[in-house]
């Protein structure tokens, strides 16, 4: 029989609630996104206040749109981490309240695993090499021996942070990825920037400093945006290529907020073609943070008995995805 679960996401700038079914239908995916002031990043406390204000409305919308009554839910799932403490706590409060009021199991979900599993559901990817690129993560990942394993990652900034910090330096407000993509598409002037690949790992801090210095010394925002994309995306595509060659897998899946960037997907597609591998891109609506990634992954976890007593349902600001057992993939 078809079952339903509800998922709550609130790791960073997005508060979102979604209802999904065991058949993989996303019945609703309501969200509210905190927008930082121009030139500044996410202020964790202010973001949490924004989530608190929006929580009731977003929850109501998600339930109404799904057409599923709360008592029909099998479980309540929430993003336990990793993320910003004040933001995570809002989601945890909402989920704990629902679970105890409805007397349903409470399922903790790792946000990063959520990106990957939702990407697999939406694209049909079975056993991919995953590039997870967002404000919180830049990792190359593949499943092996009961866990999603990290094969490469950033040694300092994430790709999302690189784009945001560069954008903010030029007066934009986070998230800046879309504005940088647009600006980049209006230029084809390439400035040399540090290209830092260390084995399977990347480093962006030198690139960020060099890019900021370039705009400060008068190079156009468009041309530096173009150069950042060409350099940084080539770096993450190269480490994905290394992981693909190393593991011998045949699928690449790109997930996380930066997966929405057309330039990145274009480069990834060219790379994968050389290895006769397929590329799956998460649809833009679901590439950023959303409740559906938590609901769907929570549903998978719930099917293998994963749950946490309400009393112990805290949050974990630091929680690496390679420390999470994935019983549903065995």
């Amino acid at each position: 029989m078809k079952q339903y679960v509800l998922g709550v996401e609130s790791t960073a700038h997005t508060f979102s609630v979604s209802v999904v079914s065991t058949e993989g239908e996303i019945l609703s995916n309501a969200k509210s996104v905190y927008k930082a002031a121009a030139g500044s990043g996410i202020h964790p406390f202010e973001a949490s206040q924004s989530h608190l204000k929006a929580a009731g409305k977003v929850l109501g919308e998600a339930v109404e749109e799904s057409g599923i009554a709360l008592h029909q839910l099998e479980a309540v799932c929430y993003s336990m981490g990793p993320g910003l403490g004040p933001c995570l706590r809002v989601g945890a409060v909402v989920a704990r309240t629902l679970a105890s009021t409805l007397d349903k199991p409470l399922v903790p979900v790792n946000h990063a695993v959520g990106h990957i599993e939702l990407g697999c559901l939406l694209t049909g990817a079975k056993d991919p090499v995953v590039l997870l690129v967002s404000g919180g993560h830049t990792m190359v990942i593949a499943y092996s021996g009961g866990r999603w394993r990290v094969l490469g990652e950033t040694l300092d900034l994430t790709l999302g942070q690189l784009l945001d910090q560069f954008g903010r330096h030029s007066g934009l407000s986070s998230p800046c990825g879309a504005a940088i993509e647009t600006a980049a598409s209006n230029s084809s002037i390439y400035h040399r920037l540090p290209y830092s690949v260390k084995g399977n790992d990347v480093s962006f801090s030198g690139l960020l400093t060099a890019a900021k210095n370039m705009t400060d010394s008068g190079e156009s925002f468009e041309s530096v945006s173009f150069s950042i994309q060409e350099t940084a995306f080539a770096m993450v595509v190269e480490v994905t290529e290394r992981a693909l060659a190393f593991t011998g897998k045949h699928e690449v899946l790109v997930v996380g907020g930066v997966a929405a960037n057309a330039k990145l997907s274009d480069m990834m597609t060219k790379m994968a073609a050389r290895h006769s591998a397929s590329v799956s891109l998460t649809p833009i609506v679901y590439s950023g943070d959303c409740g559906a990634q938590i609901a769907w992954t929570g549903l998978l976890a719930h099917s293998r008995g994963v749950q946490v007593p309400v009393r112990e349902a805290s949050v974990r600001q630091s929680w690496r995805l390679d420390s999470v057992d994935i019983p549903w993939r065995n």
């Binding site: 981490g81 990793p82 919180g136 993560h137 830049t138 990792m139 593949a142 092996s144 021996g145 009961g146 866990r147 394993r149 990290v150 094969l151 490469g152 990652e153 950033t154 040694l155 300092d156 994430t158 390439y190 040399r192 290209y195 690949v197 260390k198 084995g199 399977n200 790992d201 060409e230 350099t231 080539a234 595509v237 190269e238 290394r242 060659a245 190393f246 593991t247 480069m267 990834m268 060219k270 790379m271 073609a273 050389r274 600001q317 630091s318 929680w319 690496r320 390679d322 420390s323």
Partner: protein
Amino acid sequence: MPYRLAELDISIRHQRTLHEAELVHSARKAGVRAPRLYYIDAPRTTLVMEYVEGQRLKEFVSSAPEEEAGKLFRALGRDVARLHSAGITHGDLTTANVIIRDSELVFIDFGLSNHSSRLEDHAVDLRLIKETLVGAHPSISSMALERLFEGYSREAGAKRTKAVTRQLKSIERRGRYARLS
């Protein structure tokens, strides 16, 4: 078709080809097995090298008995320490870049190699091996790492090994959401 911008792609390949040519030679001088280099065609970013017949460490360890695998990882640690003592970092130390020929290790793929005696660079080398072992060979990773550091320590000395291990921990702590003591 390259996925990188042509200008960037050419410069990266050019740089890596020259590095590889130079460092594969330096590695041999340091007493580590690596393919002989026959010919460099820099304009075409092409190297002609000896063909190394054997199985990659990656495939070998997945079928080898634990004791035999352990010996190889000890030898791997020793050879990496030899490279480091000679001021060479390999830069791409995965189990796919080491070939077993007549029960000896042969290192290939020096495209990301560099001359460096910095602790940080040596630790980055070891971090990649660790990442590969934990990520791709989880069932043997703790045994393999133990043997690897034994071999490294025997060659580089306890003091240097301690320092490089500490640096490795510090790099891992920089990782996202890392929880390390």
